[in-house]
């Protein structure tokens, strides 16, 4: 349910991009780290509801594509980066050390927008 706040912000950013780049048809790419508490389905749902009710989107179609990015754990011992699924996975899968830190998976950003004719 907290996805509503960030989806409102997403729609606001998209409207700005639509204005700045004269976009009537396009696709926005959202990158979402899997170590956050955000989920793709609620964002997609809120996105469709918000754009449906917004006159800036009448006769315009901007699709939303969400790419989930896996969490990353950097090991200070063996200097490798491994992919992780949960924020409490702290043991390096490569060497077993606990001397690690999360180095990715916290993203929630608009990567790019594609403009179609």
């Amino acid at each position: 349910m907290h996805e509503l706040d960030v989806t409102k912000e997403l729609v606001k950013q998209i409207k700005q991009l639509m204005n700045e780049n004269s976009i009537n048809k396009g696709k926005v790419f959202l990158e979402m780290g899997n170590l956050t508490t955000y989920s793709a389905e609620p964002i997609k749902f809120y996105y469709s509801q918000l754009t449906h009710a917004d006159k800036s989107f009448v006769n315009k179609k901007i699709k939303l594509e969400i790419h989930e990015k896996k969490g990353e754990l950097y090991c200070k011992e063996c200097k490798t980066t491994s992919k992780i699924n949960e924020i409490f996975e702290r043991i390096c899968p490569a060497c077993g050390s606990i001397n690690t830190q999360i180095s990715g998976g916290d993203e929630l950003k608009i990567k790019k927008v594609e403009k179609y004719e």
Partner: protein, 235 residues
């Protein structure tokens, strides 16, 4: 778009790289800076509904001067907690989100515009009772406290790792009923330490008010460091 095969023509790609939390975080950073300038130490207090957040503030007022504490209280509805704290002479501003499951930096900024912080040393922002939504939403705080009661069970860190990951201090409340609810203390502490080995953990019980003394001390020390930082900025 080509009607035959569905391919997109004349594609132009515009690079964006914009975080959706940027606006909120920018406002939070401004709030934090203003509070540093005023030497008021901001704390984000989180936890499940009924975990003991408001009770924690009431007990801290026995070890910190209540006149030096300001509280922003977040709930969907009602001012029950505001009335509780005002009885203890603590300045409290109530935010009712109606349906919002967490506070955000715009709400906190608006609250602060309506509060008189003269003479205050500590700002405790009691977030909406929730272990999911407040996690990662910056408000302008410098310290995160998560209150987790024995009655909720020892599996909370495993089930809600994000909020525990960002906690500087976890308060395990209601230790007086730990046995009655079969609370697995060692498992709980082990899981917390795995998420963040530097995390402070303090157990509290209303049958021993001294258990709150240590928490007050941590907050007082943080405020002193905050004051020092501000003094250095001035010179």
């Amino acid at each position: 778009m080509c009607e035959e095969c569905g391919c997109e023509e004349n594609k132009e790609t515009i690079k964006v790289e914009k975080d959706l939390r940027q606006e909120n975080d920018k406002m939070a950073a401004e709030t934090k800076h203003k509070l540093l300038h005023k030497k008021v130490y901001p704390i984000n207090l989180m936890g499940s509904p009924g975990s003991g957040k408001t009770t924690l503030i009431q007990n801290l007022a026995n070890y910190l001067n209540p006149e030096e504490i300001a509280v922003i209280q977040g709930d969907l509805e009602s001012d029950i907690d505001k009335k509780k704290l005002e009885k203890d002479k603590i300045l409290t501003y109530q935010i009712n989100t109606h349906s919002g499951c967490h506070l955000n930096s715009a709400m906190v900024r608006d609250a602060l515009e309506n509060m008189q912080l003269q003479g205050k040393k500590y700002l405790i922002i009691e977030n909406v009772g929730n272990l999911v939504c407040p996690a990662g939403v910056k408000l302008g705080q410098d310290f995160n406290i998560v209150v987790s009661s024995t009655a909720e069970g020892a599996d909370k860190p495993k089930k809600y790792p994000v909020i525990f990951n960002e906690a500087n201090l976890v308060v395990i409340s209601k230790m007086d009923i730990a046995k009655a609810v079969n609370f697995k203390r060692e498992d709980y502490i082990k899981d917390l330490k795995q998420i963040n080995p530097d995390m402070k953990i303090i157990e509290t019980t209303n049958t021993n008010k001294e258990s709150y003394k240590k928490i007050a001390e941590i907050i007082r020390q943080n405020h002193e460091k905050w004051e020092e930082t501000e003094s250095k900025h001035q010179h």
